[in-house]
Symmetry: C2
């Protein structure tokens, strides 16, 4: 399973789309917030009662990869465990034509050999504060949706800035229950992150795209980073103890991580919009990107290396979306969702007070979805930037907007330009990650063609963007006339403010200025007529649910820290029982079964050390824990709070998890901690590193 | 370049789309009909005056592959030369998991070893008769477009039937100049076609998708079939002499083949429709198919074999469409087209009589394109069958329609069910080509999902089609309940007529019945409000052109026999001259340059015989001849009427050839006859076969 990656966040999570509330909770369902854990369920189902110390320890040991993904501290000297595919973005950025760490793996012999990630930010949750009252009070009943949107944005910016100034911690006001609650999340932030160890791509992603979202699996989808402070390995108080045996069958386990986005209680209109409009549209874009990246990769080995990580991400998203869409197109699943909605609406309508207060919410969402539908394409192309592919245009836009937003008071800015988020934004904007000119050209050419296709070649904005040229010629011209690949140039433009932007002859800066009014316009329509309307409506539905079904509910995923729980347990598929745990010897058998050909080719290191590897060592396992994209890299923890595994995937049956959880077949897939220990010691000559785990 | 292949004909040529007229002819431009050859241009540019005997000989030596593609007779004992990729459909159909002739190549040691193609029909043009007056007379001025459409269809069916009864020849009334003229083409038909020789896929398509539409090239894209009559090799009077030296630089050459479809003089509104609506839509479908087939291929080696030919076809179309769209999105090209249109319209409007007679044509086409736009998706899904993928549904539909159409008089039937076309239809319907259940399931699942996406899952027809299931479950159910994979079952249903269809419990027959009313309805809208309106309007434009610019014009391509002419000549690309002729030694260098890795891996046979191959032997060459998809397999002929080459591709600059020809860079790519001779004798131990060529 793919983490929620920054480059795809607009696709996967929908920059402007909103999640919603969930149906009655069943079994091991739920991605629980740490200040409202399912104590009753845990006690009744598992006889487990977490202490406050257990909760705090797990919370502060959990790490969010701001690039999209999860991880955990696993040593006192700053080691962070995550997936190879969560680290992939960094592995790729620190690689070159000569040293392809993403493909070949990496091991730092000493701390001095650990390469620094150019733009990786890790967040560790320190506290949660309920600020619902203050946020809600800022929105007056007489305000129209546009005014309400701006008032809420302003109070959130103020709360975040105050918290940052007071604590020095990253401070994010998070919208939960789609507007039912607002919580202030404070994170300790690490921005000096260095690579310690990664295995080869071929074992991290053994089985490749065909095996992705399948089970049984044999993947060492793991890597280790180290957090630094003041140029020294960070001293970490809360880190997970390492259990070298891994999880056992039927054991209770927990997942502490950052699920990206779910839509469990989206209304039927919202689900149908996703089914009939948005998911097909996104899939079309993903297929287009996939073919484009494949074509680019065919140009040579270095091109294949350059595009590999992008291509993997796109293929992963394509498979995930296809599974999700398959679920939405299944009338049986939709009937369950529809029945739950009807039941809730009937109860609301049966009570005159509730009917008056909440009864109109569903129709408001239906109306918002119509506006969403009309603006989906323009929003994707102009505001999410799908019409201007590559890494350079987003930088140009950021510089153009930075100058404009800086001139406004903090409370009136687009949220990503607020004072509280400034240092995170600058980490990305001044990233020293390599930019590959010919991939930029390929992406910009393709996306300008996409823009012309989607809006029509005679759309006035398209004509201005293309400036009398075809997409290929115009893309070449734009890239020949920019210097934004140079970090110093970006810093100079940022420092120069509006004057520097106005005076700039950089072609991409000029393009970003040209596009900005239209992009802002569609964003404003989406914010005021979709986001805000839905937020208010879902807040009503949320209140109705709390009144009718009680407070033990989890909010839909929002890329904030959640705790899931479940059992290590197999499942039935096509009439066969799938065993819950695979072992390392099985990897060799699985490779043989596929003729040892890519993507089932085990790396040389594994063949070389085959005789020394314990064939019975647990490799991957499944559990009933409720996860979704973004949970990749989450630690799997036992009752004692020890790390027994590492989430890296969901099975194919879990792909409908965006909107429904079904314990019979939905499974989370993990690497066993046993396999990580074994591989470090026996295959990668990294005993010294293994010795640090849990210490 | 891809031939116009049956499975993609709806995509590539647009079952319901109409081509149109061309701008002023320049240089070597033109795909000329054999009864209106460019004698003046040939004499003035090349001092060449073809005799009647030369023309008849070339015409009767030229072969149309009814599956989509061209070829030629090259021996008195029935040998037919075409491209490996034109023969691919048959190569694939006669292959099995044990013998993959498509991949590994094939050589029949004796005629007894030549495997028979299960459904291949070859056509050889015998005569052309102008029937414009009779067709036009059937359409009365007082008829509305719907009545006109039916009247024209009826008279065409009558003419074809009369001709078939009188001559026994396949008789097709062809619409030329988009309605300006109607000609009756009579073909001798061969339906017992057997495979004689094919090289390995790796040399036929050396360089694969990356090199497709590129130059220089090193491809042996050739194979040989043999036509049989009465179970004996056919005795052929007109076949081409074989020139073992191939074409020389600067030589005048001709291409005699069957270009599928061009749109050279589409009006600007029609071109913009193609640019903004149809081409993007088709590309979306192609990308979807490409990913689906790639995914299927990953399931194993046998799956890869099964899907390979489909996948190649889809990739080829995707690349061709992308090139075409690139041209349409180039404002400079569109400006040239626009200027030509303006010039013609100005001349028409300057003459009151012409203005009255022809002046309204352009607006009629614009109006038709609006209707086309509104119906494009339903027509693609329901009538062209994109919502019901695989080989079985089309058979079910044919059976359902056959029963219904047989009940009508010949003149009132859908044209593909007319008496004149019946035997060709039955050849396809009763094909013994293998049907692969899991590929059928993959395609049907994907296309039912596509149907639901495109029409919306709550469209009443979609709900009936899916019958309460998701696409995957419904596809499995449909395929479990059909016996149409059995040829005898198809014959039984066809013989049983409407009664058998009514009584059938076959799931796919029932599905075809369910869909048919809606499919026929959208077809009727397209025929009466688009096809007919455009035909009348383009006929007016055509007449205006003849009046203003004289009779020496060629009609747009219609998959009928055409003669192109040109010179073997290099061209300039990115400031470099590209030499016109490559040699066989260059293939080894090209492979080395790409690390001898797929798709640049030469077959073992080539490495084994490397020392015996004349490295200087001409391999591929380019010429200025004006060709398009469907010309694949066409013979390249010198002044003497000898075969000197075999068309197999166009360069990337030729991809705009659908609507514009530019002699500076547009090049047709051929295999030299020298390379075919050399390869047969030195590599494939087929000297005896080579000895038959031209004899």
């Amino acid at each position: 399973m793919r983490a929620v990656r920054s480059c795809l966040v607009g696709l996967v999570a929908g920059v402007l789309a909103l999640p919603s509330l969930a149906a009655p909770v069943r079994g091991d369902e739920g991605m629980w917030v740490f200040n409202n854990l399912p104590r009753k369920q845990l006690k009744e189902r598992y006889g487990f009662e977490p202490t406050e110390a257990w909760i705090e320890h797990v919370m502060k040991s959990s790490v969010r990869f701001n690039s999209g993904g999860s991880g955990s501290f696993v040593s006192s000297n700053g080691l962070v465990l995550t997936n190879h595919h969560v680290g992939a973005d960094t592995l790729h950025k620190v690689s070159t034509a000569e040293h392809d760490y993403y493909k070949e793996g990496f091991l730092a012999k000493t701390p001095a050999d650990e390469p620094k990630a150019p733009d990786l930010e890790l967040n560790v949750l320190q506290s949660i504060e309920d600020v619902t009252a203050r946020v809600t009070a800022a929105v007056k009943p007489e305000m129209n949706p546009g005014e309400a949107f701006l008032a809420r944005r302003a109070v959130i910016a103020t709360i975040e800035k105050e918290s940052l100034d007071k604590t020095g911690l990253r401070s994010d006001v998070v919208t939960l229950y789609q507007g039912g609650q607002y919580h202030l999340y404070r994170y300790k932030k690490y921005t000096d992150i260095r690579l310690v160890w990664a295995p080869e791509f071929d074992i991290a992603f053994f089985g490749g795209d065909p095996d992705n979202f399948e089970y049984p699996r044999y993947d060492l989808d793991a890597c280790l980073f180290r957090a630094y402070e003041n140029d020294q390995p960070a001293k970490i108080e809360h880190f997970l103890q390492w259990n070298p045996q891994g999880a056992a069958a039927d054991e209770l386990v927990f997942v502490s991580g950052h699920p990206g986005k779910t839509d469990r209680l989206n209304t039927m209109d919202a689900l149908k919009f996703q089914r009939d409009v948005r998911a097909p549209y996104v899939l079309g874009m993903l297929r287009r990107m996939e073919i484009m990246l494949q074509q680019y990769s065919q140009d040579g080995e270095e091109q294949a290396r350059i595009a590999k990580e992008d291509l993997f991400g796109v293929q992963n998203s394509r498979k995930a979306y296809l599974g999700q869409l398959g679920g939405l197109q299944d009338p049986a699943i939709m009937a369950r969702k529809s029945a739950a909605e009807k039941s809730l609406r009937d109860k609301v309508n049966a009570d005159p007070r509730m009917k008056q207060a909440y009864g109109g919410a569903w129709d408001k969402i239906a109306a918002a979805k119509k506006v969403h539908r009309e603006n989906l394409v323009r929003a994707a192309l102009l505001e999410q930037g799908r019409g201007f592919g590559g890494n350079l245009f987003p930088m140009a836009r950021t510089l153009v907007r930075l100058a404009a937003e800086n001139a406004k008071p903090n409370t009136a800015r687009l949220p990503e330009y607020s004072d509280a988020g400034r240092s995170s934004l600058e980490l990305q904007l001044y990233s020293t990650a390599p930019i590959y000119p010919d991939l930029e050209l390929t992406k910009l050419t393709d996306s300008l063609g996409f823009l012309a296709e989607q809006l029509g070649a005679e759309d006035p904005l398209v004509e201005k963007v293309l400036a009398g040229k075809g997409p290929a010629a115009r893309a070449a011209e734009l890239l020949a006339g920019t210097k934004l690949q140079d970090v110093e140039e970006r810093k100079k433009l940022a420092a120069g403010g509006q004057g520097a932007i106005d005076a700039s002859t950089d072609t991409l800066i000029q393009l970003a200025k040209l596009v900005d009014p239209a992009a802002r316009a569609v964003r404003e329509v989406m914010e005021k007529q979709v986001t805000e309307v839905e937020r208010q409506a879902y807040a009503q539905i949320s209140k109705a649910l709390f009144e009718i079904e009680g407070p033990s509910r989890y909010p839909d995923a929002t890329f904030t820290l959640r705790l899931s729980f479940g059992t290590v347990k197999g499942y039935e598929e096509n009439g066969q029982m799938v065993a819950p745990i695979t072992n390392m010897g099985g990897a060799f058998e699985h490779a043989n079964k596929h003729g040892n050909k890519a993507p089932w080719e085990l790396p040389k290191s594994w063949h070389d050390k085959r005789s020394q590897i314990g064939a019975e060592t647990a490799f991957n396992f499944v559990s009933t824990c409720d996860i979704i994209g973004g949970n990749s890299g989450s630690p799997v923890i036992n009752r004692k709070g020890e790390l027994v595994g590492l989430i890296f995937d969901g099975n194919i049956q879990s792909l409908v998890g965006d909107f429904i959880y079904d314990e019979t077949q939905n499974r989370a897939v993990s690497v066993s901690s046993a396999a990580i220990s074994e591989a470090l010691r026996k295959i990668y000559n990294a005993g010294a590193l293994a010795d640090q785990l849990g210490k």
